[in-house]
Amino acid sequence: MAGFREARGDLKLDSVTKAFGDFTAVDDIDLDVPRGSFFALLGPSGCGKTTTLRMIAGLEQPTAGRVMIGDTDLTGSRPYERPVNTVFQSYALFPHLTIRDNVAFGPKRRKEKEAAARADDALELVQMTQFAGRKPAQLSGGQQQRVALARALVNHPEVLLLDEPLGALDLKLRREMQVELKRIQTEVGLTFIHVTHDQEEAMTMADTVAVMNKGHIEQLGAPAALYDLPRTRFVANFLGQANTGVGTIKGTDGDHLVADVLGTPVKILKSRSQVHDGEVLFGVRPEKVTVSRSQPEGAGNDVKGVVRDVSFLGVATSYLVDMPSGATWSCYEQNLDVEPLDLRPGDAVWLTWNPGHAFGVPVDES
């Protein structure tokens, strides 16, 4: 078909900016997504992730910058010229066509032979074969979601875009589809770009997560790396929970920085802190904090607090502890001990953590 570009390779965004009037939705983004990877764009609503996705699809044109697949510059080309397909948030199935015709739509437009047979194969991949003759309105949300996926996959796009594809499903179905999506991605080996505001979903499925905020990419990396060592305050708080406190760096102790957080001295590995003097936002993840009744000996960092709330979760117990600084920390203890701690609100406890788990990020930015 005329105009169609048979591009192959990694997806690259080169200084891409998108402005709507005065509002800059996406601000000078660079991205490099290796071919065949599962890439998540994670961020709160309004952070520019969907706009980024729509620029890759060609549904929006960037104000500046280039969108490339391999060596082919796709900037300015129309959606139907790109080897890219989208699974829309609302599924956007064609209401007047049967499920089979919905899925066969792409292959038919590309004048492919046996479009119907290809559609049936794709429906089999998402286990929707028995619904091929129905209309979209006769399917449930989860079923429509599978059809939308099949309708995009059938074209074997170089890049598959997923715009909050699981957002409308209930929790159980969402979990199932997460596993299913990952299975399909491994099976077909296509590049998946998954836009979501659900950090758990992003971490479960993606090889690489890019956390977006206010049109920028805050941090990019493997889920475990992002969680372990956030580089900005936003990432620390958006990706999982973090116990944080603003402190001032007072000096160094070997490999560690020593900071004073409202009277409590804390240590951060130099390599784990983004700032090395002045103010720092100290942070440590809830599950890295140990709760005990007495001050443990030889522990790295500790601080005394008062239990505010105890939630028994089965596999774990979650504590909220009021700190001397006035902050409330959250601690997450696996229920491994034979003798449970049996803490009650009002009990005094010692919180300890290995300084190697602490991180420091700049205080500014919300």
């Binding site: 139907y80 989208t86 956007a92 064609f94 739509f105 309708r151 074209n155």
Partner: protein
């Protein structure tokens, strides 16, 4: 043990439960019928009774020699007359109404499309412009068209000046009638099409582009089919009244070659003793339109209308 026995006893007691909910349901049933009553009365008095009256009149016979007097009869000659003497009028009615419906569709679709997708902040103003003609009477508007299309008017004048008007007239020709019908029923075409386009999810149309359909193909395979309920409703709302219309023919049309609406009008009001034939014509027109609409909806209909 004892509590179990108790439960089964209560559940098994026939005196307590079965009769209790009955009055409640009955009451609710009556409320629904009471609410239906005004509408049903209205339909009965102003639709069913006149229809029955019309049916009996259409079968009456004249007293020979006493124009304007009838007796009750089962006289199918009225229908024979309607179908033979007035067949050309029926044909004209359906032809003109069909052409007007087609033209209204051609004008209305781009207008509705522009209103739904391109108008932005002008949308409400365009909507007002579509509806505004309803603030003046149908007759007045048609009179206005007789001025616009008159021989001295600028339309005919310009066309004559350019030698583009064979015959030299627009007014009092079928062209003027079809133009009038198109104009008068245009809003009935625009509004349902607009409603169905406006309701269409823009993401679905984007999905067409995403799946390798260019602008025109997306329109042909996605947008147009999605708006079919509106198109269907619009064509029905235009064709049905246009086929029975007589005002446009009366004010804009030629002296000879009338439509069936004019014949019915004349038979009822101008020709003494015309009632049975007029009634038979009305019934035939109604039946013909019903059959056509049925076939049309069977062919092009979707599950829902608008």
């Amino acid at each position: 043990m004892s509590s179990l026995a108790q439960v089964s006893q209560v559940a098994g007691d026939p005196a307590v439960h079965p009769t209790a909910p009955a009055p409640e349901t009955q009451k609710r049933g009556w409320t629904a019928y009471l609410l239906l009553l005004p509408g049903a009365l209205w339909l009965g008095v102003f639709f069913v009774l006149p229809l029955v009256q019309l049916a009996t009149v259409s079968l009456q016979s004249r007293y020979p020699g006493f124009p304007g007097y009838y007796y009750r009869d089962v006289n199918l000659d009225n229908y024979v007359s309607a179908l033979t003497d007035y067949a050309p009028h029926f044909a004209r009615s359906f032809l003109y109404a069909g052409l007007a419906t087609f033209l209204a569709f051609v004008v209305a679709y781009p207008l509705a499309y522009a209103m739904a997708f391109k108008a932005g902040r002008w949308r409400n103003l365009m909507m007002i412009c579509v509806i505004a003609p309803f603030f003046t009477s149908f007759i007045l508007r048609t009179f206005a068209w007789s001025q616009i299309l008159a021989d001295e008017g600028w339309v005919a004048g310009t066309l004559n000046f350019l030698h583009l008007l064979p015959g030299g007239h627009i007014i009092n020709t079928p062209v003027a009638v079809i133009a009038g019908l198109t104009y008068n029923f245009l809003p009935f075409m625009v509004l349902p099409i607009y409603a169905s386009l406006e309701r269409a999810d823009p993401r679905v149309i984007e999905a067409g582009g995403d799946l390798y359909a260019n602008g025109f193909t997306t329109f042909r395979t996605v947008t147009l089919p999605m708006s079919m309920p509106g198109v269907l409703a619009g064509t029905l709302l235009t064709f049905i009244p246009a086929a029975g219309d007589f005002v446009n023919m009366e004010l804009l049309g030629p002296q000879r070659g009338k439509m069936v609406g004019n014949v019915i009008n004349d038979q009822f009001l101008a020709i003494p003793g015309g009632y049975p034939v007029a009634s038979a014509l009305s019934f035939t027109l109604m039946a013909a339109i019903l059959v056509m609409v049925f076939l049309y909806v069977r062919r092009f209909g979707t599950e829902e209308l608008v």
